[in-house]
Subunit: 154 residues, 2 copies
Amino acid sequence: MTYSIELREEVKKIFTAFLKQKKLRKTPERFAILDEIYSRKDHFDVDSLYISMQDKNYRVSRATVYNTLDLLVECDLVTRHQFGQSQSQYEKAFGFRQHDHLICTDCNKVVEFCDPRIQNIQNTVGELLEFEVIHHSLLFYGNCIKKDCEKKAK
Amino acid sequence: MTYSIELREEVKKIFTAFLKQKKLRKTPERFAILDEIYSRKDHFDVDSLYISMQDKNYRVSRATVYNTLDLLVECDLVTRHQFGQSQSQYEKAFGFRQHDHLICTDCNKVVEFCDPRIQNIQNTVGELLEFEVIHHSLLFYGNCIKKDCEKKAK
DNA sequence: CTCGGTGCAAAGCTTTTGCATCCGC
DNA sequence: GCGGATGCAAAAGCTTTGCACCGAG
């Protein structure tokens, strides 16, 4: 759909502007990684992103993936999450409304939700404790009820 | 203060009951680790806990610390947090009201706060998405305003 | 006495770093 | 052409695992 293509063009412009402002180079690797991320629907970890790119015969090193992800997080095109304990999860962040996550501790499924009341809490807390809150992370952990939840074997 | 001692006794009873129920052994190491955790005021990571115990001439291995922490998390006497990206942070969890955290991205200071409205959100979301929410983690990231915040050198 | 728990060190995994080469500017 | 960026592999950090020995039940 054209919407998606327009979005990806806009995202490229934002990244280009960011790189220019930071006096960094517009390398093909950086844009290939950005493109791959925005072609994905969901959360992903570094390794699956890396492997996807290998599969498409676009050879980038893990080091470059990590490096580029840092830049994309810095310019708010990508969000970093810490759902489990081990590796970081990432997610595209532009053009999608802010949301939080519900994690099933049995099947590890991640479901998104959105509740405007979080903003109120953020405002209250920031004011009360004299903090300027930039962003937040709200995770609910629990179990799917009557859903296709299959407990993962340990 | 006596309160604290009573609390620690109660915590030991809970852990003992948990171990019994799970048919696990009540080893001195396990209780030494529990005791060390409940003598601490704040959040801590595995390594600082390990070092504290070495300093007090109580020799436990890192493996035992990890193992015991897993048990303590399982029986809800300890909470595991993922504030940054690297290692897990832990915190005693019994006898202290549930709270969430505000993290300064400049100086890494962690401040606690408590807002009952989170419970409402949890209820709504759980009902709406048919999840049984067991626990949550709400993190606000931002900067201290007019406080003793010193940007950490990179 | 049994077998779960511990300590130690080695292995595992994710992420970072060093260095030679490459290429955007 | 210069200096930043990449790729590769090696190193670093946190956590887990394997194995022999120890000690709680």
